[in-house]
Assembly symmetry: C2
Homo-oligomer: 412 residues x 2
């Protein structure tokens, strides 16, 4: 295979995570040191930055500031939620991408994102091949939702899981401090897959966590929910509940969107998230003090609680993408192959074809959810626990995070 | 002064904090080592534990588990919100307290709490003196609200402030990641005093924080709020706002409770907190994506982000209370006298008479709030920044917090 010389682009897409910048750093640092790659360009707001020819020359950045990207949450280059068209129907975007690629002699495209981003990669690769423009396209996985197909897990999940488990432990301590009754509901991200909600059970395994955990893999029933809570309630007067934002009734309606008795009786939707809604239902049912807590954005950007394992693997995924592309691979996503045996965990990268990965969603296996559908099994705990391990270096100034300061000079 | 020999009680009261157990540990450890104190009793759920004669023998605990209390958030002994009667009107509780004190030969009472707890201490001290029962009563301050009178600051505030500032920095990174417009509202605790909301400005001072901060010390006006946001909005399409839960209109009505246009038009109160309400108002006004985030219990129990300064001072306050009581003091609260000059910070304990302290609320000085009433001044930053400094030891097991496990054996 001849060495392919040219510039590379790194773009970030979709919802941010605590470690997405560690992957970008892995790409950037490896690319800057690669003889094949002539210039490293950071796309502003993902593929939109390519379309707008807003590309930062990452070689002009201070190396120490680049290194600080590892400890900076959210997407340092900016993100987007841009669904690219099917090239067979509308190739406008692709023509423009080709034009920008040619202008900067871009021969490597690295895209750091979730399902949709892998689809974008796949389509760009197909188009570039169809027009005979030599270019290698690699997906670098990222999603707190942990729902990418074919990989043991996704960078971003471990840190979010650790944030969730730690926060559930802390809330558990707080919510049980009085001798008066209280029911607390914690709402966790994950619209279609329950990996993050399941992570709340790590807190319970550690001795201070939710009594009940509801995942979107099973159908939710308000009556069964009341029964579950009543059982705990009868033995202790404090109940802590974790729910995925994506829990839904058997007919597919999200509980967060359904008309419940908490609506005003005139069919007006109420403000407030799922946690507040469920708390209100429980208040009416159990006539007790309730509290609904939504972990909201905090769970995906809580970099101060990142998992060192997750951080290292995120960087590794970025580096592996560049190495594979320079070695001749294209149309692939970096994935993880892991072993967990006898309390030992190891993780290696592998490559998956983008077409295999794109647009599938990996859910929590049904046999990792307990028969009562209100918790996870030990298999889930054994799977997730290695992913949250290790405390990363904390870079602080005045005891507050010191984030990367990038110059972001546009490439001409 | 003759040495007063006898048992001591330590009780915890009011809302928990990240470091209230560090104060309790300071009391317990110092008391266990004191020759004057014959037994150290932990009251279950504060004064309620005294009334119910539910007192744990802290001398039976494993010393290492006691030490772990320093890193365990929320009140390890259990808390209460019990307002004790005026003894002139109803002395039932006091007679019972005296009975329990006599039963265990309690000669020292340490109460770890906020304003109401200092009032409780004061009343118990007065009663014991009136009936001629020799007993020394000391208040150990605790409140994230930082509103106790006569002390530079309160243990618990620094850690909550650090949690708030760090979380605001992380949310700031997350909420500005897309090139699409977004307004984000973060709701922070503090019903009457704006110390905690002001701490959000530490994030801004560190380079990634709210554009606007609203404290309950000033009257809130929805029109002025819209104007403030519009000004930011005209220069950038992302606005981050921090509000105290206690913001109120000029007539004293809390914004969180007032009927706004977000009510359903039939006068029904809506679910959801202040952040969600304000976000909805802004959505209607600016026709943009909004998000309301309530830091909720997380901000007061986020021990993993505790300030080492706060933690050490909380323990110091507990130790100072015991030392002063053994030396003969009573009817006092431990307070802090601090110096901040030339970038150096120092903190010493002092004693305040409980009657001076009880039931006053210390608010943010008006000249620390900016003239537009939408932010704080550098004086506030200079005051608060030293209080969040330092990263405490983190005791983890499987990378999750390892909290104190107390046996809690009842004293007979």
């Amino acid at each position: 295979m001849n060495e392919l010389k040219g510039a590379c682009i790194i773009g970030q897409s979709g919802g941010p995570t605590s470690v997405i910048n560690a992957s970008a750093y892995g790409v950037i640092d490896t690319a800057l040191k690669s003889g094949a790659i002539t210039q490293v360009l950071g796309a502003e707001h993902g593929i939109k930055g390519v379309l707008n020819d807003r590309l930062f020359d990452m070689g002009l950045e201070d190396p120490e500031e680049l290194r600080l990207m590892k400890y900076t949450p959210s997407s340092a280059l900016g993100s987007c939620r841009y669904k690219i068209a099917d090239p067979a129907k509308d190739d406008t975007d692709y023509k423009r991408i080709l034009e920008v690629f040619k202008k900067h002699n871009v021969r490597y495209f690295f895209y750091n994102g979730g399902n949709d981003s892998m689809d974008t990669c796949n389509k760009i690769n197909t188009y570039m091949q169809s027009v005979g423009y030599e270019c290698r396209v690699m997906g670098v996985p990222k999603t707190i939702d942990n729902d990418l197909f074919g990989t043991d897990h996704c960078p971003g999940f471990g840190s979010a899981a650790k944030y969730i488990a730690t926060s559930c432990m802390e809330v558990s301590k707080d919510a049980t401090v009085y001798d008066t009754p209280q029911i607390t509901v914690i709402e966790i991200m994950g619209r279609h897959a329950g990996w993050l909600a399941g992570a709340a059970a790590l807190a319970t395994a550690a001795g201070a966590g939710p009594d009940l955990v509801y995942l979107p893999e099973t159908d939710f029933s308000m009556d069964r929910f009341f029964d579950d809570v009543a059982k705990i309630w009868s033995s202790k007067n404090k109940v802590l509940i974790a729910v995925s934002e994506g829990i839904h009734y058997a007919d597919g309606t999200f509980v967060s969107e359904a008309k419940t008795s908490a609506t005003d009786g005139f069919g007006h939707a109420q403000l407030g998230g799922l946690a507040v809604r469920l708390a209100e239902e429980l208040k009416n049912r159990f006539n007790t003090k309730v509290r609904g807590i939504e972990l909201s954005l905090l769970q995906r950007c809580g970099a101060h609680l990142a998992s060192a394992t997750d951080l290292a693997e995120a960087e590794l995924a970025g580096r592996a993408a560049v190495e594979a592309a320079v070695a001749g691979k294209t149309d692939c996503m970096v994935a993880f192959r892991c072993e967990r045996s006898g309390g030992r965990y190891s993780c290696q990268t592998k490559l998956l074809s983008l077409s295999e990965v794109a647009n599938y969603e990996k859910k929590v296996p049904m046999d990792w959810i307990n028969p009562a559908h209100n918790g996870v099994t030990q298999d889930f705990i054994d799977y997730a626990l290695p992913l949250i391990q290790g405390e990363p270096e904390r870079i602080v100034e005045n005891s507050l995070p010191r984030y990367a300061k990038l110059k972001k000079e546009l490439a001409k």
